[in-house]
Symmetry: C2
DNA sequence: ATTGATTAATCGGAAAAAGCGATTACATAC
DNA sequence: GTATGTAATCGCTTTTTCCGATTAATCAAT
């Protein structure tokens, strides 16, 4: 069991490397300059190599110093995470939680679910960010978000997923449309129509096509909607038909519009709603409970 | 800047979680039982949550305790790595180094290079392991190897690669073969022959085929060699022709065999020799110097 | 039930460390 | 030169860390 540097020493190192100034680094660490200076020297003695060049009037970290400072940042972050894990274990449903949501879920699910969430978890401070899946996952990876509420299937990286349930697609078409008013629409019905979809980047676009076993390549791209509300308007104006998730219909997205809605036959085309988080996250229990609380609203 | 646990406390936690016994854990940490006991309590106070269940006579870690112990192991390992990085910066070419080598490089390159390496880097303790690329990379990932000497192209993960140079393929055929004794062989020449290759799993098999722009699918698989030496014997016995890297020829693999060797025309088919290591490795400078020292032997 | 053995927690005091303020040493700017 | 800004050093105090001894609790054997 070798002697290793203390986190305190590493914190000092990081502070100096960041600022190239002992005095300021000491202030940032809330210790005196002499204390910090001594700490750095201990570290250099222990490692047996210089970490800082003190020539001239300025301090410059050596290559080794920079390398070790980088690694130290990681270690310090890991130590902070320990605190987070413990805090989350003590009170899973308290504190700030940064949640990402995609635009085809957020506006429909959250207005219904949030009041109940606030009541059930009064100490939870929920910060929401709405964006497309890819960008939310970037932020999740970067640690800016704690979890993301999105639609599956989607090629996720090394994340943990909690499946919250399915969300079926229905066909929305103009009320005076020639489609026979039978119970359910078939993929063939849709294939013969002018199918309106969200613009590229929305996962719903690909998921809807895949779920209905339709080819996306030869789609009419002249009429791409920027939101599900836009799409509904476009259908009401007779521009074509569209696929709409049940969640949006439940939220009344076609209320007041002169359109008709039909379920789809057969394999019950749907997307799945999932809550995902980093495999290393400190708050898995928090997410699990959050997911359970959201489930009834699907 | 929050208060975080000390590495010392984390070491205590890991020791207890591993052994479920304060006394043994204390002994393993070279401290008294009272010291360790106090350290654990500090940690529990700091985190505000119990890490160990002390009911009955036995100690059982809580779920949180296990989780934190896992994370702590990572942090402690990271701290040890700091020491390694510093040590490697002080004396790059000293200490133990576990190097993996593939079978189509090791037996030809190392006998020539090792004496010189030993002389140039007398303090380097080189431990060698010979295996196929895929398995070496697994061990590299697991931290059992520090670096791997292999042949490219190969689909590597997130590794750093140092290119050491190219290694050309030549055609080896029986001395009495009908091939005209022109200077160089073409891919077409080879395509019409019974081409002998190493058995599956050897990267050389695919690399040779790719470099010569030959399709591998319809190859005769009845005669797969288990080593380049075997292949050379098979050619001498008139079973077909084969592709041999220059490195093996230089090492005299066909010496005493009744075969002929011809270079290949055109795009000079070759594999590249590379030294790879983990992007997070503590000893990049060591590997760089090692690579430079190996280069002249290609 | 009593005794003995094992184990973790607790306590008092010693040793080590971490920290501070003041001072020194050094380089640069004026 | 002198003033200024900076890091290193020194003496001293406070805090932390650690140990050995003791206590309290549990379990096993009698």
């Amino acid at each position: 069991m070798r002697t290793v540097p203390t986190l305190r020493q590493l914190r000092y190192l990081v502070a100096v490397v960041d600022r190239c100034h002992f005095g300021q680094a000491a202030a940032a660490c809330n210790v005196s300059q002499s204390t910090l200076s001594a700490g750095i020297q201990e570290l250099e003695d222990l490692l047996g190599a210089p970490l800082l060049e003190r020539t001239k009037r300025t301090v410059v970290p050596t290559a080794l110093g920079r390398d070790l400072a980088d690694r130290s940042r990681g270690l310090l972050k890991g130590a902070e995470e320990l605190m987070d894990v413990a805090q989350a274990a003590r009170e899973p449903m308290a504190g700030p939680l940064h949640l990402g949501v995609i635009p085809t879920i957020g506006p429909f699910l959250l207005p219904r679910a949030l009041p109940q969430l606030r009541e059930t978890f009064p100490k939870l401070q929920l910060y929401l960010r709405e964006d497309q899946t890819a960008r939310l996952l970037e932020r999740l990876d970067a640690g800016e978000l704690d979890a993301v509420l999105l639609a599956l299937p989607y090629a996720l990286g090394d994340l943990e997923v909690m499946d919250l349930g399915e969300d079926r697609f229905s066909v929305v078409y103009p009320a005076d449309h020639r489609l026979p008013a039978t119970d359910a629409a078939t993929p063939a019905d849709i294939a013969s129509e002018n199918l309106l979809l969200l613009e590229d980047g929305h996962c719903l676009r690909d998921q809807a096509l895949a779920a209905c076993e339709l080819e996306g390549a030869r789609r009419n791209t002249a009429f791409n909607g920027t939101s599900l509300h836009t799409l509904a308007q476009m259908v009401a104006n007779g521009l074509g038909v569209t696929l709409m998730p049940q969640m949006a219909l439940d939220a009344g997205i076609v209320r007041g519009l002169d359109v008709a809605v039909r379920p789809m036959t057969g394999s019950a085309p749907h997307r799945r709603i999932g809550l995902v988080w980093r495999r290393t996250s400190a708050r898995k229990e928090t997410f699990r409970q959050l997911g359970e609380a959201l489930r009834p609203f699907l």
